[in-house]
Symmetry: C2
Subunit: 145 residues, 2 copies
């Protein structure tokens, strides 16, 4: 995903609670620093919890990389790693995203893959315009969420 903004603005969206709450889920708490833990909760419009993830921050390299390891959450997610690498190209900051180490290719992985793409679009909107689509106002893609 290419974002028309300098790397420090994209990094702020990935490396601070305020930034993460702007495009992924409004219910973001914890400590966004190396070895810190961040808790991401997802609720529906009525406030019922749909799921929550606790991540440990593995890497937080200003303007270059953010990596998390999932410590608590759905069984399929625990132990997986989430990675955002930043690179400047032309007028863009390119976000190279990966969610690594899924143990099997299942319907839930396919759902999450598509959902990540919609959140990368939300990240771009947040950085470029200041208005993202974080949960619970996220784009719904199927009968799960």
């Amino acid at each position: 995903m290419g974002i028309k903004a300098p790397p420090d603005k994209v990094f702020a969206a990935l490396g601070t609670l305020e930034g993460l709450a702007g495009w992924w889920t409004r219910d973001t708490t914890g400590h966004a620093q190396p070895l810190g833990r961040i808790r991401f909760r997802f609720c529906n419009a009525a406030g019922t919890e749909l799921g929550a993830f606790d991540m440990e921050v593995l890497t937080q390299d200003p303007d270059q990389a953010v990596r998390w390891r999932v410590k608590e959450g759905p069984a399929e997610w625990v132990g997986t790693d989430i990675e955002f690498l930043l690179a400047q190209q032309d007028e863009f900051t390119i976000v190279n995203f990966a969610h690594r180490h899924w143990r099997e290719e299942a319907a839930f992985m396919a759902h999450c893959s598509m959902k990540w793409a919609t959140f990368l679009l939300s990240l771009r909107e947040w950085v470029e315009t200041g208005r993202g689509r974080p949960s619970p106002d996220d784009l719904k893609i199927d009968n799960w969420n």
Copy 2:
């Protein structure tokens, strides 16, 4: 991706030239039947060709599955397989999409992965509303396209 439509409507969007031209690229020609070849051309707004793929139709199971094998196109795509599996759940037809057998994880694969997600959103719009975003009116995601 879940689409609020019966499987036969989604299948029509995947298994006919008219359907494919409605959400992927307007420049779709060939024969959408088993062992047929379909040519997909992508141009920019000025009409300059950005790329083209020739696919052989491997599977065309009404309301269930479409599979293609890439026969000509960018080197990274040739020999890869593209798969759409359909399943009815609640009021949705779920499209389980995969682009298999990439030989290496490179920046171009990441670009295509994100681009596929935006085309799945276009597919949903096309089926649900009759208005997709096929190339050259596709959503741009970075400095490539």
